[in-house]
Symmetry: C2
Subunit: 353 residues, 2 copies
């Protein structure tokens, strides 16, 4: 059967060998710049390779070397600019170091498993992953047990895996503490509670430490990952009529959705509702009311993750014990958070409440 690539035969080492009169072995060495080959031979061979538009076949190389110089990168969504920026930086870093990147997205554990198997078929040398469910990492543990290099892009402690990420718990604690310090007593929260509970746990922890009672109904997990989800989530929190004067959003996407909700409902930010986000995406900085948020340095994060992955991939034999690189998240205070105002909006000011 004819197939796609038979159309135009790619030239091979053998072609160059035939053209120059050398053996394929010599050609291979020459093209890789071996000094064992005479200068003259190298020149003619390189010239012939260019003339034939020769491109080395990584697939054949991988087969014999048992390494593909390729890594897998698995991300959940690319709707959030923060992980997206990190993904871009990861790709650049890997590329600079001579690695190619196979890319996949997954929003369920099943898709994640399928993507990982795809990566394995492609003989990737390692894996960079934003796992879907931070509370169940057994499949990643299995990979590590087989000495397969995996670096998780999550700032979580005690996972038994290599991980690089912002200290989500601490940063969320700080963000919430900022609101508490401003005098807020009833703070809503929008964020994941099941799969990725660390941020909301930081939120809870701040309440405990500062002796502030917390009603479970102050917390809501938006459905999906968008500003629309943040908008809807804020609407649901508002309906609960808990007298909220502030909101902690585990993502700027949610925060900006909530800010839009406030605008639509005539609730003023920050006078009637303070909002703190997370990720410090550019929109937050350019919003009409600029958004207080947690900044995390995606570039540093990507570099650290790539360095760790490469270290693991270059290790012969058993992998070294897992390492955790926890980067600090820095709270950037902007216009959207202030001391609670006199007027509340929960007491029926808005249309629907």
């Amino acid at each position: 059967m004819e197939n796609a690539l038979t159309r135009q035969r790619k030239s091979t080492l053998a072609d160059i060998a035939a053209k120059t009169g050398y053996g394929t072995n010599t050609v291979s060495l020459a093209l890789r710049g071996s000094t064992r080959i005479s200068q003259a031979a190298r020149d003619t061979i390189i010239k012939a390779a260019e003339a034939l538009d020769y491109v080395p076949n990584n697939t054949a190389k991988a087969l014999v070397l048992k390494r593909s110089n390729t890594v897998g990168m698995l991300v959940e969504y690319l709707t959030n600019p923060q992980p997206t920026a990190v993904a871009t930086a990861l790709q650049r870093e890997m590329s600079d170091r001579g690695y190619s990147v196979l890319f996949a997205t997954s929003s369920t554990p099943e898709q994640e498993a399928a993507a990982i198997e795809m990566f394995r078929r492609h003989m990737v040398d390692g894996l960079l992953i934003y796992p879907v469910d931070h509370t169940n990492l057994s499949h990643l543990h299995r990979l590590r047990e087989r000495n397969f290099p995996v670096v998780m892009l999550v700032g979580a402690r005690d996972t038994g895996l290599d991980a690089v990420g912002v200290d989500e718990f601490q940063a969320s604690y700080d963000a919430t503490t900022h609101l508490i310090a401003l005098g807020h007593k009833r703070i809503g929260a929008l964020g994941p509670t099941k799969d990725k509970p660390l941020k909301i746990e930081g939120f809870r922890h701040a309440h405990r430490v500062h002796g502030l009672p917390l009603d479970e109904r102050q917390i809501y997990e938006p459905v999906g990952f968008s500003m629309a989800a943040g908008y809807d989530g804020m609407a649901i929190l508002a309906e609960r009529d808990l007298g909220l004067t502030a909101l902690f959003a585990a993502s700027d996407m949610f925060a900006l959705g909530a800010m839009r909700w406030a605008k639509v409902k005539g609730v003023s930010v920050p006078e009637q509702l303070s909002i703190v986000g997370y990720d410090n995406i550019e929109y937050g900085e350019f919003s009409n009311t600029t958004l207080t948020s947690v900044r995390n340095d995606g570039g540093t994060l990507a570099k650290a993750a790539v360095e760790r992955l490469i270290a693991l991939m270059e290790t012969d034999g058993p992998l070294p014990p897992p390492t955790l690189t926890l980067l600090p998240g820095e709270l950037v205070v902007r216009e959207s958070s202030s001391r609670p105002g006199r007027r509340s909006w929960a007491s029926g000011q808005t249309d629907k409440l």
Copy 2:
């Protein structure tokens, strides 16, 4: 030399053959569900494969089949949510069809060439690309001449290449015409003029068609691709003191940056400055003043591009003539565009002007 993947030997067809007593050939056929193999044999072989945690080696398969079931995806940035969403959709579509995606980013023609060579090394079966420079596609023509499937994600006519994209020229014409119809006489433009001139050409065309004079200084090409670049670009246009009452931004990122500029400078949108963006990103919809923009259906675009690429990849022999799929961009009118107000801001109202 030991290397990364020698750590844990991956099991192969030969391992399964050894374990079950069949030949590798039988095992290969059985695993691919050939009915030429007896049901009993297939069952034992599949069971053994699972026990050995067998994963087919795509690299070896690609070598013999001369196709990798992998495509390359090349994007410029992932800072703009619109192409990012398309990239995600492309990956999903390819994955659904059994293809893997090698991913790279490039912001210069040199990086683009390097990425394409990387893809060729990996024996990709095809290429999905947002080219950096829409005015010089000779390297892509060369690929096509060799019958290598390439689909460009650009809505440009007469490129001699397969392309799928929004009709940028028409959509930009429409957006500009919208502003002209509202009564604006002096409209600024922020967008690329050299690499990707189609949008600005649409802007120019609208001026020609509607008999509106156009000063070259009304057009500025922002440096980089961010809201900050839009902000700075708007500042530069303002300094030129051209009496602008409206702005056409070739990207919502620029538009939202310009909107922020207006807020900072005390210029009211749309009363003193109407703004029309392009891409219809979510943040425009959730902005304090909602943004008029050009909506393009990324999902449809991705699906069309993938279908075309697959059609090309499944073609035996010479490629069919290139095809252009031009999707319409729909102008979504929101709050940021209106008829010009009485007060202008250019006459010294703002701080610096």
